[in-house]
Symmetry: C2
Subunit: 361 residues, 2 copies
């Protein structure tokens, strides 16, 4: 998508054909800085420090990390060491381990001398696959937004509510929940997006930043305000992403998604989930009972990061360290609250989710 | 209530019999500092700067401001000038104007020489009235919490969810929504309180601070996490405050209250509103249509205040000033979602609200 009018992806090869560029997302929305990575360890560090984030993106970034590793030490030992280092950068990220294992398995049978170039081919393929999945989600979602716009009698603006960041910053390009929005905007459908701040990590600021850079009108508000907007008729459709969706359609996504779905239902506003097939987990049924919810460091709630008047980035303490904090990272929205699932294969009902096949990414 | 083991109110007379003490709430939860006010202008400034906040408290503080003014200039002109200055400190605060007018009306017929001592009597009376209303709300709420505890088979802990700060810091003592909690805790009922952060102004931090100082176990979480706690069965009862409640029982309260009420309903958890009679507005019916919602400065969402590692208080920017922000301060919870109203006259149903009589404070 565009930044300052120029098209970008979140990860790409340099013109030199081997070094890797990323956007340092830790600095967003305060500063847009690119980083060139030349060693596997730098990729692992970028993943660990969340300079790259979002399940699909860190998988692709890790694949490029293996490329850099193979340039330095393409031995069997070098390959397993690099895989272990990269996987350890975010121990709970399923996509990360999956991408690393996928590339490792493909390289292992090859002679060391051929591994680096094969790795670059695999990484590029993973990146293109992700872009294509997101592009298709956008295409199917566009149809849905067009239909909703017509259903409402073609209002001057179609208001879309989203939560967290399921945009291009979390993928290689386009995003999942935001892909339909970008396609609709580019197709001339008049859109405005309500962006939840998404406490505690405020991924809404990334969403607001990327939408703004691409020219999509958007407004940020506190998470608690979304139900009020819905009650006042200011929202025509909700679209969110998902980290994991069960066979019966229960949706695990960023904390705060479930109350949004409840409010959408209370006001009969359609609630869609953008779902890459890789996040469908057919091995689970009851999301509330079966999906373990990650409990994260309470300092994410107690502290905040931002710019001082001097322009310097600083972390401040909002509440004392001694204050007990609960910080569940995700919640589960029961399938009954979901109007439909926007996948790369079309917009599916819960009954049709089985088409996505197996389990995990 | 207690702070560091010592009982406090939020406003009180010094032992000298004329100067006024307040807790500087702007510094909470970072520092507990008291301020002695000796001039009407200092009281107006403390109200303006939100060193004292909460509708009942600023009304009483303003009454003490008139006392200080009458010591300096008890003329008719002095009385109207002081009233105007104090009322202007928070132009939208209904309680503030009401308290000022109440005291002005009582003083005007008196000879100037008698006004100061009469003012002190009136201010003390307003303070005691507020304490008594809150105490009674606590008493009736205690019965309700006891009944809920028994209804659930006397669990080891009764979990209460609240939103915003309707505690003693917003009143003279006890609070409204928190008064039942303090009384229950003091009576030995085993309680734990889930405290919503309450973005954007984070009044939850005040709630967590005052509960902690009084020894009530509590846990803070992001607003978006409350529905998750309810879904997981971690909440037994919700109690919130209200800024204004209509004849049919629609509740205007801090933004984020409505989604909490929706989530409580989804999980059949009782949702109570603590309601001093003064906030009942019998002249309104449909809260969603009739109550204007204050839209506040977007910088409340874009910025955050807290302590730097150096211990210095600082304001940081979370999002650029150019980012459009919607910042509605309140929302309206329809009466259908409210289980009952805890008033100084008992726990009322919506049908019984009419007993509270007229309109406004």
């Amino acid at each position: 998508m565009r930044v300052d009018g120029k098209p970008y992806r979140t990860v790409w090869l340099d013109a030199d054909g081997w070094s890797v560029w990323i956007i340092d997302q830790v600095l967003l929305p305060h500063a847009f800085k690119l980083r060139r990575l030349t060693k596997m360890e730098e990729v692992a560090q970028a993943i660990f420090a969340m300079q790259v984030r979002g399940a699909p993106l860190i998988g692709v970034a890790a694949a490029y990390g293996l490329c850099l590793a193979m340039r330095e030490d393409p031995s069997d030992q070098g390959l397993s060491r690099a895989g272990a280092t990269l996987s350890a950068a975010r121990p709970t990220a399923v996509n990360l381990r999956w991408a690393v294992e996928q590339v490792q398995r493909a390289l292992m049978p090859l002679p060391p001398s051929g591994r680096a170039s094969a790795a670059y081919g695999l990484a590029a393929q993973l990146a293109e696959q992700d872009v294509e999945v997101c592009r298709r989600i956008g295409e199917h979602g566009l149809g849905l937004l067009r239909a909703r716009h017509e259903q409402l009698g073609c209002p001057a603006v179609l208001n879309v509510q989203t939560h967290c960041n399921a945009g291009w910053l979390a993928t290689v390009d386009f995003g999942t929940a935001l892909s339909p929005i970008y396609q609709a905007h580019d197709a001339g459908l008049p859109l405005h997006v309500w962006v939840d701040e998404t406490r505690p990590r405020r991924q809404g600021l990334l969403t607001a930043w990327e939408l703004g850079q691409h020219g999509v009108p958007r407004t940020l508000s506190a998470d608690g305000a979304a139900a009020h907007h819905l009650q006042r008729g200011r929202v025509d459709v909700c679209i969110v992403g998902t980290d994991r969706t069960t066979a019966r359609g229960d949706v695990c996504n960023k904390i705060g998604t479930y109350p949004l779905a409840l409010a959408a239902r209370a006001h009969q506003v359609p609630f869609y989930v953008a779902l890459p097939g890789s996040t469908y987990d057919g091995s689970l049924q009851d999301g509330v009972r079966e999906i373990p919810i990650e409990e994260r460091d309470g300092n994410e709630v107690r502290q905040a990061q931002g710019l001082l008047p001097s322009g310097e980035l600083a972390t401040i303490s909002l509440a004392p360290e001694s204050l007990p904090v609960a910080n569940p990272a995700f919640d589960v929205t029961p399938a009954e609250l979901v109007t439909g699932y926007i996948t790369e294969h079309g917009v599916l009902t819960r009954a049709e989710l089985g088409r996505l096949g197996g389990g995990g990414p």
